[in-house]
C-alpha cells in the first residue's frame, strides 16, 4: 500500500511538472471568471427579492400561450405545462427559483463546465501511459523491481483523482466566488425539478451532489476508454480523437441507432454514461438506472482487462 501511494505520488509529480496541467487549471478558472463577468453584466430584470411577482407575471404569459391555437400541442404539453406546474409548485411552497446572481444560482450556472473537465480528463487519461512510450521513459520505468500492473493501477488512480480535483475546484471556486460577489442570502436553497412527470424538490446541495456524482461516473467511463485505447496504440492522438468523438457524438449516435430501431443501441456504453438522465428528465425507453449501472460495470471491467493485458504482456520496443 505504501508503495502504491508512492507510485501515485510519482504520477502526480510528473503531471504537475508539465505545463499542460496548469493550463487546464487556468482555463477552468478563467471560464468561471468569464461566467462571472457575463452574469454581472447581464441586466436581469428579476431579482431574488420579488421573485413571487415575476413568477406570477411569467405564469400569466404562459397561460396566454396555452390558449394560443397557433402553438403546437406537443410543445404545450412538454414545455409550457411543465413550466407552469413548476412555477405553481414554487409559489405554493415558497421556493424561490435559482437566479444566477445568487451564490447557489452561480454554481448552477457553472455546473455545465463538467463537460470541459471531461475533455481535459480524456487528454490526461490518453496521455498518462502513452507519453511514457513517446518519451522512452517506459524502459527505465519497467526495469524497476515493481510489477507492471502496479504502475497501471497507479496511473489510472491518478486520472480518477485528478478528475475529482477538477470537480472540487469547479464546485468550490464557483461557490466561493458566488458567495463573495452575490452573498449567501437567498431564501430558497431548494432545487425543484421534474422527474418522470412528477415534481421533486430537494436541497440544492443534494442536487449538486447528484449532478456531479452522476457526471463523475461518466468521466471515469470515458477516461477508462481513452486509457485503454492509448495503452493499445501507445499514442495519445488516436485515443483523444476517438474518445472525444464518442463523448460528444455518442449520445447522438445512440439516439439515431435507437430511432432506427436497432435493439443493440442501448447496450453501447456511451448510451449509458449519462446517469443524470435517471434523476431529472425522462430516461430513454428500455433503460433503467440498474441496467445502466450493470452495463457500465461490465464495460469498465472489459476496458481495464484489455489495458492490463496489453501493458503486462507487451514487449517494450522503442
Amino acid at each position: 500500500m505504501k508503495q502504491f501511494i508512492r507510485l501515485v505520488k510519482n504520477e502526480h509529480m510528473k503531471l504537475y511538472k508539465q505545463k499542460m496541467m496548469w493550463i487546464i487549471i487556468a482555463i477552468l478558472i478563467s471560464t468561471i471568471t468569464l461566467t462571472l463577468i457575463v452574469t454581472l453584466n447581464s441586466d436581469e430584470e428579476d431579482s431574488p427579492s420579488d421573485w413571487r411577482t415575476s413568477l406570477e407575471e411569467k405564469n400569466a404569459v404562459l397561460l396566454k400561450q396555452m390558449a394560443d391555437e397557433t402553438i403546437p400541442e406537443d410543445y404545450k404539453k412538454n414545455t409550457i405545462e411543465k413550466e407552469l406546474q413548476l412555477n405553481n409548485y414554487r409559489l405554493e411552497n415558497d421556493i424561490s427559483p435559482l437566479y444566477s446572481n445568487t451564490a447557489s444560482g452561480f454554481v448552477q450556472e457553472t455546473v455545465g463546465f463538467t463537460g470541459l473537465i471531461t475533455l481535459f480528463i480524456i487528454i490526461i487519461a490518453a496521455s498518462i501511459v502513452s507519453q511514457e512510450y513517446t518519451w522512452g521513459t517506459i524502459k527505465l520505468l519497467l526495469m524497476r523491481p515493481v510489477n507492471r500492473w502496479k504502475f497501471i493501477i497507479a496511473k489510472f488512480m491518478t486520472v480518477v483523482l485528478n478528475a475529482l480535483y477538477l470537480y472540487i475546484l469547479l464546485f468550490c471556486l464557483s461557490l466561493i466566488v458566488g458567495t463573495i460577489v452575490f452573498g449567501f442570502s437567498e431564501p430558497g436553497l431548494r432545487y425543484v425539478f421534474m422527474a418522470n412527470g412528477e415534481i421533486k424538490d430537494v436541497s440544492i446541495f443534494y442536487h449538486f451532489l447528484q449532478y456531479f456524482g452522476s457526471k463523475f461516473v461518466g468521466v471515469i467511463m470515458i477516461a477508462s476508454f481513452a486509457f485503454m485505447i492509448s495503452t493499445i496504440f501507445k499514442k495519445n492522438t488516436i485515443a483523444i480523437t476517438i474518445s472525444i468523438f464518442i463523448q460528444f457524438a455518442g449520445t447522438l449516435t445512440s439516439s439515431v441507432l435507437s430511432l432506427l430501431d436497432k435493439g443493440f443501441a442501448k447496450y453501447l456504453f456511451f448510451a449509458n454514461t449519462n446517469l443524470y438522465q435517471y434523476v431529472e428528465g425522462a430516461p430513454p425507453e428500455g433503460q433503467t438506472l440498474t441496467f445502466s449501472i450493470i452495463n457500465l460495470i461490465i464495460y469498465f471491467i472489459i476496458f481495464k482487462f484489455i489495458s492490463f493485458y496489453m501493458f503486462e504482456k507487451r514487449d517494450v520496443v522503442t
Partner: protein, 303 residues
C-alpha cells in the same frame, strides 16, 4: 567460487519465426566488468532486454541472483539495474526530480542518497537544472546515477558511450571503473567499439547474428601476462628513460616519445613511478592490440 549474479541459459528470442537471438548462454560473476561486443544488429540489445524483463523470452532462462526473471520478476529486478539503448529521462524535470521519481518507486525518498550519487557521477552542480539542458554525457551519467539508486548487484548498460565525443567516452569510462571499484558491482556493458571495451572490461563476450561466438573467460590474465607496446609522451625524456629502464622489457626513444614494451599488468605501476618523479605525462597510448585483430577476424567473414 560464488554463484554468478546473472546466469543466462539457452536464451532464444523469436519474432515472427525469425530467431533474433539463438541459444545464448552466459554468466556474469560478482565484481566483474563484462563487455558484450558485436556489430550493430547482432542481438546485444535483445539479449539485454530479456535479462531485464523488458521483452518476453521465447525459450531459455534468465536467473538473477537465484531468481528467475519471468516467474519472480520483482525479486529478480531488485539486483539488476541500468539502461537500454539510451537513458531516457523526464526532460521537463530536473535531474534531482528524476532521481526522486526513480527512488520513490523503490522506497521512501532519501535526499542524502541522491546527493551522494549525484556527487559520484559528477552532477552535483547541475542537479537542479532541467534535464533538457543537459549534454548527452550528463544524461548518460544521470542514467547511471539512476541505475545506482537501487544499490544493484549488476549494472546492465547498453551502449552507454554511444554518441559521445571522445572526452565524454573517457569520462563515462572513468566513472564506471570508479563505481565498479567503490560499490563492488558487476557491470555488463555492450558496445560495438572494441578498443573502448578492451580498456574497461575484465572479460569480453562476442555476439554475432544472435549467437555467442566467443567468451573470453580469462582475458584478464591473458592481458596481464601478455606483452604490450605503449608509447609515452613524457618530459623530460631522459629522466623518464632513467626511471623506467629497469622495470620494462624494452625501451626506445623516438624524439620526444618513448616506446616501451611491458607486461600489461605493470602499466599502472610504471605510470605511478613517473608521477612520483614529478615527470610531465602528456600521453600514454597502446600501440596495437591483439584483441582488435582477433575481433575483426571473427566478424570479417560476414562483411
Amino acid at each position: 567460487m560464488s554463484l554468478p549474479i546473472v546466469k543466462v541459459l539457452n536464451l532464444t528470442k523469436k519474432i515472427k519465426n525469425k530467431e533474433i537471438v539463438k541459444d545464448v548462454n552466459l554468466e556474469i560473476n560478482k565484481g566483474e566488468i563484462v563487455g558484450f561486443l558485436g556489430p550493430n544488429g547482432s542481438g546485444k540489445t535483445t539479449v539485454m532486454k530479456m535479462i531485464v524483463g523488458l521483452i518476453s523470452i521465447s525459450s531459455g532462462e534468465v536467473i538473477i541472483n537465484g531468481h528467475n526473471i519471468v516467474t519472480e520478476k520483482e525479486e529478480a529486478l531488485k539486483y539488476v539495474s541500468g539502461f537500454i539503448e539510451y537513458p531516457e529521462l523526464y526532460k521537463f524535470m530536473t535531474g534531482f526530480d528524476n532521481l526522486v521519481h526513480f527512488q520513490r518507486i523503490l522506497g521512501p525518498v532519501n535526499k542524502e542518497d541522491i546527493a551522494r550519487l549525484a556527487d559520484l557521477v559528477g552532477l552535483k552542480d547541475a542537479l537542479h537544472q532541467k534535464v533538457k539542458t543537459y549534454s548527452l554525457g550528463m544524461k548518460q551519467r544521470l542514467g547511471i546515477a539512476q541505475a545506482l539508486l537501487s544499490s544493484p548487484e549488476v549494472l546492465i548498460l547498453d551502449e552507454p558511450t554511444n554518441g559521445l565525443d571522445p572526452a565524454g567516452i573517457i569520462e563515462i569510462r572513468e566513472y564506471l571503473l570508479k563505481i565498479a571499484k567503490e560499490q563492488n558491482i558487476s557491470i555488463f556493458i555492450s558496445s560495438h567499439l572494441l578498443n573502448e571495451m578492451e580498456i574497461l572490461c575484465d572479460r569480453l563476450i562476442y555476439i554475432h547474428k544472435g549467437e555467442i561466438i566467443d567468451d573470453q573467460k580469462n582475458i584478464e590474465t591473458e592481458r596481464e601476462r601478455g606483452k604490450v607496446t605503449f608509447s609515452l609522451h613524457v618530459t623530460p625524456t631522459e629522466l623518464a628513460k632513467e626511471v623506467l629502464k629497469d622495470v620494462v622489457i624494452d625501451i626506445n626513444t623516438q624524439q620526444q616519445t618513448i616506446i616501451i614494451q611491458s607486461y600489461f599488468g605493470d602499466i599502472p605501476f610504471l605510470i605511478k613511478k613517473l608521477v612520483e618523479h614529478d615527470l610531465m605525462i602528456y600521453s600514454v597510448s597502446p600501440q596495437s592490440s591483439s584483441l582488435e585483430s582477433k575481433y575483426l577476424a571473427k566478424i570479417s567473414g560476414d562483411y
